[in-house]
Point group: D2
Chain length 354, copies 4
């Protein structure tokens, strides 16, 4: 069950402190010119500066491609790749051999499998997302020629929210901003908020917003694989994600039908795109709009109480090996998962008609 | 792509005004005593009184089983079933032959397939959910002997919210309440709110909350099929669903790690279950908690502007064939989809260890 | 696991003596004009005259479509259908409640599921193949406009073999021949052979040959889903099938490379199509050629020794409820499964290139 | 579509002359002690001495594991592995840039994808089977504790056939024999036959037989995923495979029911296992028996006529880079694919009953 997608499928593998993280992207059509520098760049984008995210692990994340690409083109065969794990300080994790961190998946993985690689969370680590970024960067190259553009960005970090509209932000340069919020003032505010939270020995949550422009009309599958449903699954599959909403989201619950009204314009678009670009699970051709909420990273610098596997509480700390907020990293992951969903739906649509 | 689930799979079929809606539940284990009256009752529960939901279509929804069950037991073979469509007033939909309702999927399905059964929304109709209710009712019978109990209920309809805690409500008798909010006062307030909205010719959204008690620890699949991810997909696949959150959901975005803290208790549970019963995508054994938001039904009694397939705006109305709020029906659908997800995850777990 | 195919998927359901056999064909593209008379005719073709096959069960096999087709066209939604079981003489099977027939799956299904519907073999009955014939008849209508033509026919029944080449037989009228061998002399010989075998209270095996003309080049998937592999799976999934070979088949094992030589012609075809139209698992554009062997039906008119579920041998007989040879029925099933495989591969190919 | 299996899934990747061949084995249960030396040995077994198979490519085939195994145990997470390609003499394949070998898949892959990695057949090369051998060797370790034993061996190479019964051969030491026929006399005859064929500048086909002992009763899925069907798919998915038969296979076509008679013994086994251990697609608990035929390798030492991509015939030769018969290698591949099928079926069966 480590596969994402149906026609375009990403299979990922790897534990945080094993030899490598990697993946296989199967179902990628043949004959596309691929820019592998862009893939490496996407990996780099996943690693904001330490100023932004705190004092996490440092990995250079060099991707090696093993198959499926030749002379710069996709072959139609599986594209396999790997990223070696290098900054693996195993001694940092000795305490985890017999203890479970609060808010982590240490105990649940053990309950499921009866065994766990406790080093850095093993496969539960967010380090796995490097595979998604590589897969997503390739998927985006499939979508690009159709004019599809994916803009993900931080819209909330802790108590700091982006208050500007999409038109007012610098969405084309999200990755120039360390917080991944493409507005200079908000970026600065988010960075200093994260700095303050870090100094207090704490962590903080946030929200990533995503807008997809240039959408074709008609993407999405009935009835369980609605575009909304597939995006929701993609987003809640990201580490620390806790919520997803599309269009008006939770606010729609308090609205009347006359208010949440996708008023037609004669050209087939609507006056206000209340639906966030998806009606009946199928794209309308208007911009797709959704948000994903992330909880604060459970590991903090202050000491915490761990639970030992023989049922005792034990004070411990993982100081120095965690981010203060996952949102700056999550932006590129949201973007990647969106690209994988859309590319899959695009290919599925090739079979919708005779 | 009309299949839900992996080991336990529901395939549904049928258009709103075609001969029947039905499904096939494949992968259901052999040898379970099945109570088919309970399945019929679940279908009845999906149909609140007209007082609650307005003036919608009336269907008796009698389920016929075609296979997979013999002498009261599951055979291990596919369980096929159908519900004949009876109250199909086709003349009501003549206007839709060449016009698209606002907020519906009429145009998006046409864009995808190049053809559509415009009668009552065809396969995009929420009538399809009867198949989910049958599948879910069977799945629940698989979960019941393990002690798993699913409680879904209305927690918000328009501006009326349930303000009581789970311990204070009558969760064992949700379906005795027309609004599906199991608190007499809130139920009454919701009903009169819906009545008022209906009289104003409008519709209203709402939120369904779901709590699963008696959860085993260890359900959920890495890394894309986290229990959170699969629930999110299941919920956003329901008609009119717009948002999903688990545990603290969107509120977690504004919290600090020290606040969103799953403090261990020595028995392996936590002080406050901030995670909503799922950590790292795998169940913790504590209650699973999530919420789903629904938009207002786009068809309202007031006349609306439809878009014709030759690009004109045309005044029209679908008076008398729609609910005022989908939440009372959605409760049983949320419950059904939850049961399907959990049963699938339960069966998948049989292969997680040697 | 009652699903066949990947992009075009047939899910079948039903027990031999339950209410109905049916299926759902999902992934069928929208907008195709469908001739439902042809589907019914395919079902009729599955039922040769009693003269040919002996004294089996009589079913009229009327198909009812429940969804996915409207105004004569496919909607792109699941096409569900059912065939009610009518000639179910349950009393004939009372002996099977506690006894296993030799050569049947009575005991193996019980071993797998711990429960079995013993009436007529339950889901193990070849009656399930009516679902395949309906699915295959629809798939064939998808292939027809491309010029793909599937010719399956009996080439051996017991000791009688068809000795003529494809060019010499009446392949366009296979179903005019009761043995399904489209050569008047061989048909007559096969019929009298079956008659003789029947009078001796025995049964007999045979071989179905299949040739697909008008093949596009390039169908088949790497590396596990080669066209050869998928056809082999399709054929060995038919009741009583025991062997499959493509092109020169087993004979190729004794040949030298210089002999089994697909000598090129300048137009890209070969001098002798030794490969049977598939090289490297992908169609060459030349005719696809394969054969499927069927064992004799294990139920014979003579009395046999059954094994009781408490380990005793017991004399019994199922006189009057079985065919003398499955090949005349199997021809239409081979044709149907071939159509399902090719239609799936055709749709899969829409995603092989950018 | 580079995935094999459903619950236990092998995804393979890699081109013959790309950086590596590898795979991901997903769904492997946690907690099994794994002997990785055995996996390497299985890879070595795939490489018979040059005396046996001629003058093919020499690869040492060292496997590197990247994930899913820790401290000698399976983690329940994906087991990824790779084998670097080393003996890649690219200059040997320059002729293939614009020409298609007879009997190979050069042209069919190009027709499918519009692009091909022509070096050594790219992904169509039998070199891909190293991934199957690694996956199969792991699967075998899952089956071993249950007592399941898989014996594959050469039973025919060209005109030399193994004439002894299973009881008379040295099945426990198949890999001690260069031909992979575990009978000293037949081995010697096969080796000298291959030698003679090689000297004549030709190649030769053959047959691999497989017997699985220690089978549990009840493996196999209805109705399209019969154990026969899945084995057939697995075998016809092997390069150069042309035919498959189980039990009496093609011979059953000429037999009468009274002759092809699985006569019951009181212990639930049969007098003669005519069915080859599978009835109704489900294992009987008796030995599973099947055979797979392979065509002669189409590349021979003599010069051959190639077809250029502009439609000309051109004399060429691939001397020195091919085996004379694929059977000695195929034995370990047949064994591997059998293990993958059985392990998948074994895991699927965990969900067949409540």
């Amino acid at each position: 069950m480590n596969t994402f997608g149906r026609t375009l499928r990403l299979i990922s593998f790897g534990e945080s402190h094993g030899p490598a993280i990697g993946g296989v992207l199967d179902g990628f059509p043949a004959g596309l010119d691929l820019d592998l520098q862009q893939v490496q760049q996407a990996l780099d984008y996943r690693n904001p500066s330490q100023a932004a995210i705190g004092s996490g692990r440092r990995e250079t994340d060099q991707v090696e491609f093993l198959s499926g690409i030749w002379q710069g083109k996709s072959l139609g065969t599986p594209i396999a790749f790997l990223i070696r794990n290098r900054d693996a300080r195993l001694e940092d994790y000795a305490v985890l051999e017999h203890a479970f961190r609060p808010g982590h998946a240490d105990d649940t993985w053990l309950a499921k499998y009866g065994i766990r690689d406790y080093r850095g969370g093993g496969r539960a680590s967010a380090r796995e997302t490097v595979a998604r970024v590589v897969g997503g960067a390739l998927a985006r190259q499939l979508l690009f020629p159709m004019g599809i553009r994916i803009y993900a960005y931080a819209c909330q970090i802790g108590s700091v929210r982006l208050e500007k509209s999409f038109a007012q932000i610098d969405a084309d340069h999200v990755y120039s901003y360390q917080s991944r919020c493409p507005d200079p003032d908000t970026d600065e505010a988010m960075l200093s908020h994260m700095q303050e939270v870090r100094l207090s020995g704490d962590s903080i949550g946030g929200v990533v917003e995503c807008r997809v422009a240039g959408m074709p009309k008609g993407l999405g599958e009935p009835v369980y694989d609605k575009l909304t449903a597939r995006l929701a699954m993609a987003m809640l599959g990201i580490n620390a994600a806790r919520a997803f909403e599309v269009g008006q989201g939770f606010a729609a619950a308090g609205m009347r039908g006359s208010e949440h009204d996708d008023t037609w314009l004669p050209d087939g678009t609507t006056a206000n795109n209340m639906s966030g670009g998806i009606r009946g699970g199928i794209s309308t051709g208007e911009d797709v709009l959704f948000r994903v909420a992330f909880k604060p990273i459970p590991t903090i610098s202050r000491s915490q109480m761990y639970l030992t596997d023989d049922g005792r509480l034990q004070e411990a700390s993982m100081a120095g090996r965690h981010d203060v907020c996952c949102v700056p990293r999550a932006v590129s992951i949201v973007e990647s998962m969106t690209a994988l969903v859309l590319a899959d739906m695009y290919l599925l649509n090739r079979c919708s008609r005779v």
